[in-house]
């Protein structure tokens, strides 16, 4: 590899040719602040926070380090008074058209703009006071709010929507001072073909976009003695909930999470993983049924509500490929309000079913039709991992020092197959563990690990020979990758048997409801891989690692459903899809 020698703040640095100043500095352990820059998807040099002085033999000039390539002999200065003053003025200019209600802002304390202002000693935030925009707040979507009065036009959300997800329902509209990030023709986000994935929220540096929250309603239900408030937690939540409390990324916090939920006041603390095991029972059976009866193949997973909404809007002609299985969240709610309610002698109307999810699309999903197994909605409220972290703080719970506690029985029992649902390839691997076991005569030594489908690559393929049957599978995460697979399926060029698709890149661990990771970390760490490690660790250490070995699930079938895909299972655990359009005009 050809390298280039430069100096940064007088220190000699050698970096690969083609590196930007920002990359070269990072490799030498020097951090340069950024705001608009997102590696690979938003390299636009627009915000001017990453300015440094660079001397290429003609005197030092201010350049944007995130996009400026290094040249041989270049002298870079990252902290001169001129640089600091420039960044400070830029921040003050941003603040001149910014709603500075930081005290009550959902992002306060974790806002990238706030941190920069603090770091650069912006003591007069009204220095350039003048006319300010007054933008209408967009509450039209089921899952989120956009408040452009707190937007700094960095375009990180646009990059996530358009490049990562290949959707593009938001963009920069108008020009100059009145430029606004919004949807076409003044449409609210809820009127567009937004899929509610929340990747825009995950990358927003400020409090301009945030999830809609039902936390106050949940707390009111907990305080109501006539209600049974029951919570379930998705696999990926335990892989990231520690981060807002200073626990290193990739550390699983399942035990502390269960303890915290109990202290908040939930009557039963259950695990979505239980329903993930049920999902495998249903989905593997459905798949084998389609293979033997000549059903529509490939069958595609249906756990990710962002993916489902995407398919309904952009591939409405391909809905027959979707598994009819509800997502684990919805299966859990259905089982809770039928089987468990019966078992406990509770009226399903008195149960308040709550979930904690790494996902914002779940807020849309709970309101879908055909999601009311007991005649009342399977789920009443859902909150994101971020909302739970804020609630834990609000309740004065010392999360870091909580003891590890277990989930309640019976809907807290799960296997290793369930916990890996939170990472791309996890649902596929879990399904293969049970499907191969079934096809090979239900022996205990059937294969356990299918490492070909693991990893953060956007698209993975593998072929397995099982009992004389060739099973070709594909796994995609991130909707721009899903599009590639779907175009192949639509064109009849795909010979897959089974496909797993998750809306968010890397799967739920990197979901739109997970704790926001500042760009200073995000640009140099693979969040997807780090968080997934926590889940595969859990899997390895579980006593049971195949869904069909879950004793509580076996009991559920013996006592209530009979067998997977039975009539009753269809009523409670399966759903239907609707054709949607891209434009509504």
């Amino acid at each position: 590899m050809e390298t280039i020698n430069i100096t940064i703040n007088g220190m000699a640095v050698e970096a690969p040719k083609g590196s930007t100043i920002l990359q070269a500095a990072k490799s030498a352990g020097i951090d340069i602040p950024t705001l608009c820059y997102l590696k690979e998807i938003n390299e636009i040099g627009a915000c001017r926070i990453c300015m440094v002085e660079a001397d290429e033999g003609r005197g030092a000039r201010l350049v944007a380090s995130c996009v400026y390539p290094i040249t041989e002999g270049m002298k870079v200065y990252t902290n001169t008074p001129k640089v600091i003053d420039y960044r400070k003025k830029t921040l003050q200019l941003i603040l001149s058209d910014h709603d500075k209600k930081c005290l009550s802002c959902v992002r306060s304390g974790k806002c990238e703009l706030q941190k920069l202002c603090h770091d650069f000693g912006v003591d007069d935030e009204n220095k350039y006071a003048g006319v300010a925009n007054e933008f209408e707040i967009d509450c039209s979507a089921a899952h989120m709010v956009r408040d452009n009065n707190k937007c700094i036009n960095c375009r990180r959300c646009i990059a996530a929507c358009e490049k990562t997800q290949g959707i593009g329902v938001i963009g920069a509209n108008n020009r100059g001072f009145i430029t606004e990030i919004s949807s076409p023709f003044g449409m609210g986000l809820g009127e567009t073909a937004c899929v509610c994935c929340g990747q825009c929220i995950a990358v927003c540096p400020t409090g301009a976009i945030y999830e809609k929250s039902d936390v106050d309603k949940i707390m009111a239900a907990i305080a109501d003695p006539t209600k049974h408030v029951v919570v379930q937690t998705a696999p990926a939540v335990r892989a990231a909930l520690g981060e807002p409390f200073g626990i290193p990324m990739g550390t699983g916090v399942e035990g502390k999470m269960a303890a915290a939920l109990r202290r908040i006041g939930f009557e039963k603390v259950f695990d979505t993983d239980f329903a993930a095991d049920v999902t495998i029972m249903e989905e593997a059976t459905e798949l084998l049924g389609r293979v033997t009866n000549g059903g529509v193949l490939p069958m595609i997973t249906s756990c990710s509500p962002g993916w489902i909404k995407f398919c309904e809007h952009y591939y409405p002609d391909q809905l027959a490929h979707l598994s009819s299985c509800k997502s684990p969240q919805q299966m859990f709610g259905g089982i809770l309000k039928t089987y468990y309610a019966e078992k406990m002698g509770w009226d399903s109307k008195d149960i308040v079913s709550v979930s904690v999810m790494p996902c914002t699309a779940k807020k849309f999903e709970i309101g879908r039709d055909d999601m009311s197994a007991a005649g009342v909605p399977d789920l009443d409220y859902t909150m994101t991992t971020r909302e739970l972290a804020r609630l834990i703080e609000r309740c004065g719970i010392d999360f870091k020092n909580l003891p590890d506690e277990a989930f309640d029985d019976p809907m807290g029992e799960s296997t290793g197959a369930a916990v890996i649902f939170g990472a791309t390839g996890g649902v596929m691997e879990a399904a293969l563990r049970t499907a191969v076991w079934k096809l090979t005569g239900e022996t205990n030594d059937s294969p356990l690990e299918f490492k070909e489908v693991r990893g953060v690559e956007g698209i993975k393929e593998a072929t397995y020979e099982v009992a004389g049957l060739k099973v070709k599978v594909a796994v995609a995460s991130g909707l721009s990758n899903a599009r590639i697979i779907m175009d192949k399926i639509r064109a009849g060029e795909a010979d897959y048997t089974f496909v797993e698709i998750m809306a968010c890149p890397g799967g739920c661990v990197n979901g739109g409801g997970q704790p926001q990771v500042p760009a200073s970390v995000r640009n140099f760490t693979d969040i997807r891989a780090e968080r997934a490690k926590a889940l595969y660790n859990y899997d390895e250490n579980m006593p049971r690692r195949k869904s069909h070995e879950n004793e509580s699930v076996k009991k559920l079938y013996a006592e209530y459903f009979g067998e997977p895909n039975s009539h009753r299972a269809h009523e409670v655990l399966h759903t239907t899809y609707v054709e949607r359009k891209i434009h509504e005009i």
Binding site: S140, P184, F185, M187, I585
Partner: protein, 164 residues
Amino acid sequence: MSSKKTTVPFAGTKEQEEALKKIIAENKDQKGALMPVMQKAQDIYGYLPIEVQTMIADGMGIPLEKVYGVSTFYSQFALNPKGKYQISVCLGTACYVKGSGDVYAKIEEILGIKGGECTPDGKFSLDACRCVGACGLAPVMMINDEVYGRLKPDDVKGILDQFN
């Protein structure tokens, strides 16, 4: 959210649609083709309402927002049709200090439209302009080719009534 869709019903013809489709087919695979396609679409329809922008987006396989973002960035693109009577009020310096801003506001009030828009019956459209070279008559407005000078807000109604 407040809609930015035009108040005038879309009245595109089959011929116009065919012409647009042909333009899209010719340009679709070229890099940077969006601007020329939008310019030609505006030549065909006179403006770029949501119906036309949707045809462009679908035809070129890009999100509608991409087209809309470009159409609101460049002043050459219009989201609303021009009326039978095109009103332009000069908001240049001389007219403005003589009170053309009040005249402009009065027209908006009487017609119930904002600058850049057209009345639903297609009769009047309103725009601001910068100097028509008649500063001696400030404040000035034009309706099609006719110049009206030394205006007061109270004059507006009588003038507009002449076109009814």
